[in-house]
């Protein structure tokens, strides 16, 4: 086993892992603000990619203009979703919320299928696709974009959650929603905010991967699932631990495929995850807290 092979596995793992992380953070933000596991998160990833495609092809926008358009359009879908499906819910038990987000994701996927058809589409890379060599391994310029944008988003998140009033209010909701309401925080607005942020983030993730992975109406399912896993490994945090969770998942998959068996690579990743959970039932980074009765 040569060093450059291992390096390639790790680099490949990082680039897929970064995407899982971005999607995972979207899951965490909504979960923390609302207690909802939003199974429609993957659909925003799909929307980001496909809307960019439409902006490029139908409206003939340049890429730098197409991306913000696509992100804002996806965000509008996110707002509509919160307003029409989540807010009017009469009995928002966690399980009802899960089912309603599943229903919502099926609905969005179906609409996307009607609008964009069932074909896979490709989007041009941001800055060419001439491979870059790093010590025997190669990556594409797009991988650098992915890593850079992920980093920027995480930093922006950090700033927002720790240095702005509404970010702090949102964290308050995450700790205790009733208490947050009591001190005058508009919890429902925070819920809406969380949907806006995470749908925008999902869309960004969808846009930056589309040149590498291509996009279609049904890409959201698998990416959403992986992002969900990343979020859980990271203990549903909206910060660095979810990023680590995503990277761990990506690298495990890549190493599993390269060193053990490509057919079982997802299984290998999940077995390791299960073992981690068995040893640390409170998550990789969580502190064991005493249970409230």
């Amino acid at each position: 086993m040569q060093f450059d092979q291992i390096l390639q596995y790790v680099l490949s793992g990082f680039s897929t892992g970064a995407i899982y992380a971005l999607i995972g953070i979207g899951f965490s933000i909504i979960y923390n603000a609302t207690g909802i596991i939003n199974f429609a998160q993957g659909e925003f990833v799909m929307l980001g990619g496909l809307l960019t495609l439409s902006c490029l092809q139908i409206f003939n926008l340049p890429l730098w203009a197409a991306i913000p358009c696509a992100v804002s359009a996806s965000t509008v879908v996110g707002i509509l979703f919160e307003r029409l499906a989540i807010r009017p819910l009469r009995q928002p038990t966690p399980i009802n919320l899960v089912i309603i987000t599943i229903g919502g994701s099926i609905l969005i996927r179906g609409l996307a299928m009607l609008v964009w058809g069932k074909d896979t589409h490709s989007i041009p890379a941001f800055s060419g696709d001439a491979p870059i060599a790093i010590g025997g391994a190669t990556i594409l310029p797009q991988h650098l974009w992915i890593l850079a944008i992920t980093l920027i988003i995480i930093l922006a998140n950090k700033l927002y959650f720790y240095h702005t009033i509404s970010g702090k209010a949102m964290r308050a909701c995450a700790y205790n929603r009733r208490a947050a309401g009591l001190v005058g925080i508009d919890v429902r607005r925070m819920v809406l905010f969380s949907f806006i942020i995470s749908s925008a983030m999902g869309a960004v993730a969808g846009i930056i991967v589309a040149p590498l992975t291509m996009t279609a109406y049904d890409v959201g399912v698998m990416l959403g699932l992986k992002g969900f896993c990343a979020a859980i490994i990271g203990g549903m945090s909206s910060g660095i631990s979810t990023v680590i969770g995503g990277l761990i998942l990506g690298v495990l998959e890549s190493l599993g495929a390269g060193l053990i068996s490509s057919g079982y690579k997802d299984a290998i990743a999940f077995i390791i995850l299960l073992l981690i959970l068995f040893i640390r039932p409170q998550g990789l980074f969580g502190k064991a807290d005493s249970e409230r009765v």
């Binding site: 995407i19 491979p131 190669t138 990556i139 490509s262």
Partner: protein, 379 residues
């Protein structure tokens, strides 16, 4: 209800009855295609083509003066649904024959139903085991994987590339291809030095390809359907692998070139002749069918007809011929289908017999290479 209304209803009923007594009842044909779901890239062109061909036949006066009626159901690529819908076609719609399903898995699931209810089934999927061993009521129009593998191996043998790496998708199509790739290798003096798979929804295959790069094989064969192989082609380019890359007939459509872009250049693959019908010599017996299919499809759907649609074209035309020769009873359709000889379709020239319900020879495939975003026949 007033008098005017009543008389209108009576009139309508009379008209209806007289209409049915003039023209004979239409002949019902069932079709099961995976129009949505992961195999939609097969099911959609198949459904479009089948509808188009049936329309054309009816416009030209039908079969022996009777119209054909096509009942299409969407299986979504799910074997359970395919079985349910096959039962529905037979029991509720009372069809005389069934076209489809689109995938090998679904076809294998539907076969017991067709055999038990004694209704001819013309599958549009490629798996060799559909007609091997021969089942009394089951035929197929899609070219066997075995033929496609044979085409590639023949070329490799000729160019003395004797060690290959295979990378197959882990679904029915890939599994069937992998089986054929492994079982035929020895016959052509080829050794498989690395055997890997990827998931149908995977977004990055660099890990598998890094491993393949380390195996130093003469050629890489990737077996899958869009978009996976396009990603493989892109990843091969990213890793700077110079080994020749072969694909399966599963990506023989313009879509692949569009998705893989630059990375598609130089990729070779076996394909049905529909893809290169303009390049074929005039002496080619299939040429007439091919050109008319491509033109029709362009007119109807403003899109390029591909060879998946061709499977449905062949199935409907084979059925039409069988009904013309022997009437519309399922058993006579079956018998006539088995007597089909030298039918020039889209997938190839079909000759069915009691021992062969697949009906095609190796010449059903040509090996093509992608050059300047277009197809070139490899001599």
């Amino acid at each position: 209800m007033n008098f005017a209304c009543m008389s209108f209803v009576i009139m309508a009923i009379t008209v209806l009855f007289s209409a049915t007594s003039f023209a004979a009842a239409p002949i019902k044909i069932g079709a099961l295609f995976a129009v949505t779901g992961p195999a939609a890239f097969l099911g959609e062109p198949e459904r479009n083509t089948a509808k188009m061909v049936v329309d054309e036949i009816n416009k030209a006066g039908g079969v022996k003066g009777r119209k054909l009626e096509l009942v299409v159901y969407d299986t979504t690529g799910d074997a359970t649904k395919a079985v349910q819908l096959a039962t529905k076609l037979i029991k509720d719609d009372k069809v005389v024959a069934i076209i489809g399903p689109s995938t090998t898995g679904e076809t294998m699931a539907v076969i017991p139903v067709a055999e038990k209810e004694q209704v001819p089934l013309i599958s549009c999927s490629a798996g060799s085991k559909i007609t091997d061993p021969v089942k009394k009521w089951v035929f197929k129009t899609a070219q066997n994987d075995a033929l496609a593998v044979g085409r590639i191996y023949e070329h490799l043998q000729k160019t003395k590339q004797t060690s290959v790496s295979i990378l197959t998708v882990s679904d029915g199509f890939g599994a069937s291809g992998r089986e054929q790739l492994k079982s035929q290798a020895a016959k052509y003096g080829i050794t498989i030095v690395s055997d890997d798979t990827y998931g149908p929804k995977d977004t990055d295959m660099t890990a598998q390809l890094t491993k393949i790069r380390g195996s130093h094989s003469h050629a890489i064969i990737c077996w899958g359907t869009n978009p996976g192989p396009a990603l493989v082609a892109k990843n091969v380019r990213q890793l700077g692998i110079k080994t020749p890359l072969f694909m399966s007939h599963g990506v023989s459509s313009k879509k692949f070139i569009e998705l893989a872009g630059e990375a598609a250049e130089g990729v070779k693959l076996p394909s049905g002749k529909v893809l290169v019908c303009d390049l074929l010599p005039k002496t080619e017996s299939q040429k007439k069918s091919l050109v008319s299919f491509v033109k029709d499809y362009q007119n109807h759907y403003k899109a390029e007809g591909d060879h998946f649609g061709g499977h449905a074209w062949d199935a409907v035309m084979l059925l039409k011929n069988a009904i013309e020769h022997g009437g519309d009873k399922p058993s006579s359709i079956r018998d006539q289908l088995e007597r089909t000889t030298n039918f020039c379709g889209i997938g190839g020239t079909f000759t069915y017999s009691a021992q062969d319900h697949a009906g095609l020879r190796k010449d059903a495939f040509v090996l093509v290479e992608i050059k300047n975003k277009d197809w070139v026949i490899v001599k």
